[in-house]
């Protein structure tokens, strides 16, 4: 019996999704990518989507492709790139988890026959990227009602990075104190770490080289 999803299964499942996603036209660009580290280099699906189409794509993934799990929502701030200053990356998984079957009034736990998985039942990783041009109030559509797991991920992304999610109910600070100043989102790149000179810090992360001239500076 197979002990894990094989590279072949993952590749054919990924190709199938990329083929079907082309129905969306120009708003969605999908490709099969491969992990580059480790021993297996399994395939996953990488999708670039126009932010306004994201909800439609999400619903399609959930309803037609069985994507049932939102792993993580990440915001990235690229201040030097005015066309795409805000990026939101969503990682989804297709787990195929179902409630256990009930046969003759008895519950039977599910033990997946891994070798027999094919098509929509193969576990699959999705990386979905969307960008927003430079603006003071970046926002992409929320998917917290599609995958409830995205709810707190989106709260965290707004809290730390400042990307808002249109349609998200109950947005609030989750990791920073509730009374943090409005508009303060520490993972934006204008907030430097510890010292004012960004490059200097990157060249010498431990700070050994700059201790003498730093002594008079305010942290």
């Amino acid at each position: 019996m197979a002990k894990e999803v094989s590279a072949k299964q993952a590749l054919s499942a990924a190709k199938e999704i990329v083929k079907d996603v082309s129905d969306f036209g120009d708003a969605v660009n999908a490709e099969v990518r491969h992990h580059t580290g480790g021993r297996r280099k399994n395939a996953y699906v990488y999708i670039e989507v126009v932010a306004s189409e994201w909800r439609e794509l999400a619903l399609w993934l959930k309803n037609s492709k069985g994507v049932d799990y939102c792993s993580m929502v990440t915001g990235i701030h690229w201040p030097e790139n005015a066309d795409a200053a805000w990026q939101v990356v969503v990682h989804l998984l297709r787990t195929g988890v179902t409630n256990p079957q009930i046969v003759k009034k008895r519950v039977h736990e599910t033990k997946v026959d891994i070798a027999a998985l094919s098509g929509n039942s193969v576990p699959m990783e999705f990386e979905i990227s969307m960008t927003v041009p430079d603006t003071r109030e970046p926002s992409v559509p929320s998917v917290a009602d599609i995958w409830v797991g995205a709810d707190w991920n989106e709260k965290e992304t707004w809290d730390l990075v400042g990307s808002d999610f249109a349609g998200h109910v109950g947005m609030r600070r989750v990791l920073l104190p509730h009374d943090s100043p409005t508009g303060y989102h520490p993972l934006q790149k204008q907030h430097k770490l510890r010292y004012h000179d960004f490059n200097e810090m990157y060249d010498d992360p431990q700070g050994f080289g700059r201790k003498p001239e730093d002594s008079g500076r305010v942290k």
């Binding site: 002990k3 939102c70 993580m72 988890v97 409630n99 599910t110 033990k111 409830v148």
Partner: protein, 378 residues
Amino acid sequence: MAEMWISMGPQHPMTHGLWTLKVKVDGETVVDTEPDLGYIHRGVEKICEARDFTQITTYCDRLCYASANTWSHAYIYAAEDLLEVEVPERAEYIRMVAIELQRIASHLMWLGAYCPDVGNLTGMVWCLREREMMMDLLQELGGSRMHYNFPRVGGVKRDLPIGFALRCRAKLKLFLDRIQEYEAILDESTIFLVRTQGVGYAKAEEMINHGVSGPNVRAAGHNYDVRWAHPYSVYDELDWEPSVERPSIKGSDCYDRYRVRVEEMRQSALMILDGLDKMPGGADTYHEPGDPAILAKAPARAAEGQTGYHHFEDSRGESMFYLAGGGEGRGKHPYRVSIRSPMFITIPYAAKCMIGYKIADIPAIMGSFDPCIGETDR
């Protein structure tokens, strides 16, 4: 009866760390909850942006003090994905041993904390006693007691010490016997059964939609495990299968979640015993921190905008690191490090899970999901 909000925390015996649970009660029944996190937010993601790829491991250890090794390995696999690094097979075996030992230690810490939650102090003492054996073994590998800093990009810190396999086998065999002692004091204790059975029902599909994974889902009757779904390391060569519980029609209760973790400890111990037998001979397993062979290539391999990520089966569910490379401008440093903490997503779900039960059930339900605040707040 009038409803009112009660604030539990940030400090009380159940919380397993600092966080507040606001509970709305009607008499003794919980009608609404609202978790409030962030008391120990350290800004690890921001700190990592100023460290090179080999230095970040140290911070990942400190994400969760009960499960340090699984977190640093979760990072290492993501970094290897970004930097396109291959790992010798022996190093993969050593990593597997380290990860599974840590999983046992983490589950023991959980059981040790859960027993007093539901009124059994003996269980705590016994679990911490066995945890010491795992800590000793991990200390042999990493050199320190809690934060091992063991994996390296491209390998591990050092090869197995002489005689490690011998000591590891002896301790695990003793441990496998001791698991039966836990089962004897817990499964046959009426108090434990009454506190855990029939409370905190959770269904598998609902949990997956809420982003809950790992042992909590396996307790609800589906054997989904990242180790076979998105494989890494050498789990395909070992003789194992994910532990899974048979829940009731209403879903898994706290007792199922306890059972699945006990089974998982047994499974991990057998996995290590099997891995020690199958471990191949010595390829190069060692990499210095700041190894020039790795770091010199980092700017070219981790070009700006290039990304690496890895889904990892942590002791508490699916954890993940997502790294965006910094390219030439930033040299050896990542541009953005994003951490997926399973407990950050699970705690809000566990809080919903309590609605409809009594105040006295809150510790039993909350504890059964294995909360860890270090990784939650990052």
